[in-house]
Assembly symmetry: C2
Homo-oligomer: 332 residues x 2
């Protein structure tokens, strides 16, 4: 085979809808790397909620949108199949911004080799964007202390699972908010969370009160939705709220309102919105913080894999509907 | 005269309503200070929006409520008329938590002498709660930088006037939000703000855009209200929001919703709620920061005075209706 497929963004999402109308599949000849370049065959591509924002025409965000006609942006893991680059040899496995394509030529910038024993799945599920995001958000902004209570929304998601397990390992009481009973079971029985709330169930306020006898010190927000107000009302003085994602609202033309700010004064609460691209320069320190937890077996994960580039759109939709069971990965 | 009046809280506010039904006036004999005590005759009492919170039965706030049967809480300036305290002599003017009463006996704790040349009015309007609050909120949390744009709501109020003038002196572009054209004129023409918006006027979004060509870096929130969302939408990346007051919502049984949190992520915004009681220990440093601005004539102020304890309720209501012209003070 001398050709490969890539998916190019040709439309902006209408009403937040993700579908095949957004992309055009291109078939091209596999390029040869020039001097100083390498050819990467992507094997595992990450699907992330942020992608909806990257496709949209919002130039005020933390990262410019993907331009129409460009290959859709993504991170992924690939294998070096040809190298004219001094730092890479054929067979190296690398993690970086690969895009929605089977092959790519790169000058190596932004690509890091996987350490021996690190699989593509753990690279994408833990050491990739989810783990970097969870670690940065939790420690830099959440400032967790042993004995405190943390609540994380999207708790069965790629970032939420790691946030909860890190906090649990640090001796916090950890409650997760999820969208199904299956996910609730999983985070409690498999990941060791102290409790879970299915936001589709009844009496959210009552469940929250029962599960947080000492109220809430850290609120790690990945989703938005109606439980947000209840959590803010349940915070302790000097609580920290880390706003990492609002997936419940990304597809909405009129995002739902947030909590009134009076409790922020009464409780002297800090809210910090953040996005990983501000923190690329800190990756060595972030990995130094995260790696020991992984080595000690404290971070479990699961990947939800779909096969082939032509299933990427379907996989992305599963993220927004909450049908996924674990971090969404496209196996190529 | 050997008796004095005090006002004791006897009811909690119903539906946020402030009225005579809340208080009972007591007439008592003026006490004598014991060894180590002083007798203070209050001359100027401060009225502040926070008082509504202090009267309410909300034990989750930053300061416990005033108990029923207790003298209502306030700060104020008084003159020492009798002293058995080594650090105070008759004639000293002092600033501290005086309460709604004409006389009080104190052990001196929490009372500071006014520096020579400092009037009771400037003490209450600038060096008292408003100035401490403005300085702490602006510098500790707003982190203003020369050339940035700051917007402050309640801009003609006791805190807002000082926030705006400090920021202006530091070389920021300063826009104030007020509730009348008279106040708009005053903050622009007398205090030197770069612009003002009357929130009761038309096309707030258009006015905001026109007045903030470089968007907004610091948002100092004293009021709440519908312009809050417009300001958040107009923030720059890494903007700082200081939540100091929400006077528009204090009297509401169902506070209005706040902004959706998506912009907090896109712009990596920090929101910090704060209240002065957390910062009592920092007062020397806060005054060291504030005093040079005052000495250089950069902080103008105006007091709105009502006379007599029996007008305190009326004065407090003027604060909430926005009828006041300057910091509300009761002259005793």
């Amino acid at each position: 085979m001398t050709t490969y497929q890539s998916m190019v963004l040709v439309n902006r999402p209408k009403n937040g809808e993700i579908g095949d109308y957004l992309f055009e599949t291109k078939e091209q000849e596999i390029p040869s790397p020039a001097e100083g370049q390498l050819l990467i065959k992507q094997t595992h591509m990450s699907l992330d909620p942020a992608m909806l924002g990257w496709m949209s025409e919002d130039r005020g965000s933390y990262i410019p949108p993907v331009e129409l006609g460009e290959v859709m942006r993504s991170s992924g893991v690939g294998e070096v199949v040809e190298s004219n680059h001094p730092d890479f040899v054929v067979g190296d496995k690398v993690l970086g911004m690969t895009g929605w394509q089977e092959y790519l030529v790169s000058d190596g910038q932004g690509f890091n080799k996987l350490q021996p024993g690190v699989s593509a799945e753990i690279a994408l599920c833990v050491f990739g964007l989810p783990g970097l995001t969870a670690t940065t958000g939790l420690y830099q902004f959440g400032k967790p202390k042993e004995g405190e209570t943390l609540i994380v929304t999207g708790a069965a998601g790629s970032v939420g699972t790691i946030v909860g397990q890190l906090a649990k390992a640090d001796g916090l009481r950890v409650i997760g908010v999820v969208g199904s009973d299956e996910k609730a079971d999983w985070i409690v029985n498999e990941l060791g969370f102290d409790g879970a709330i299915n936001y589709k169930s009844e009496d959210l306020a009552g469940q929250l009160t029962a599960l947080t006898p000492n109220r809430i010190d850290v609120f790690f927000e990945n989703t938005g939705g109606p439980i947000q107000q209840l959590i803010v009302d349940r915070m302790n003085a000097h609580g920290r709220i880390v706003v990492c994602g609002m997936i419940a609202d990304y597809q909405s033309a009129t995002p739902s309102p947030g909590p009134n700010w009076i409790p922020l004064i009464k409780k002297r609460i800090t809210i910090q919105g953040f996005a990983m691209p501000d923190h690329w320069g800190e990756i060595p320190q972030i990995l130094a913080k995260l790696t020991p937890y992984v080595q000690q077996g404290k971070i479990k994960y699961r990947a939800h894999t779909v096969k082939g580039l032509n299933n990427a759109v379907k996989g992305l939709n599963m993220l927004f509907s909450g049908e996924n069971r674990g971090k969404m990965v496209v196996e190529l």
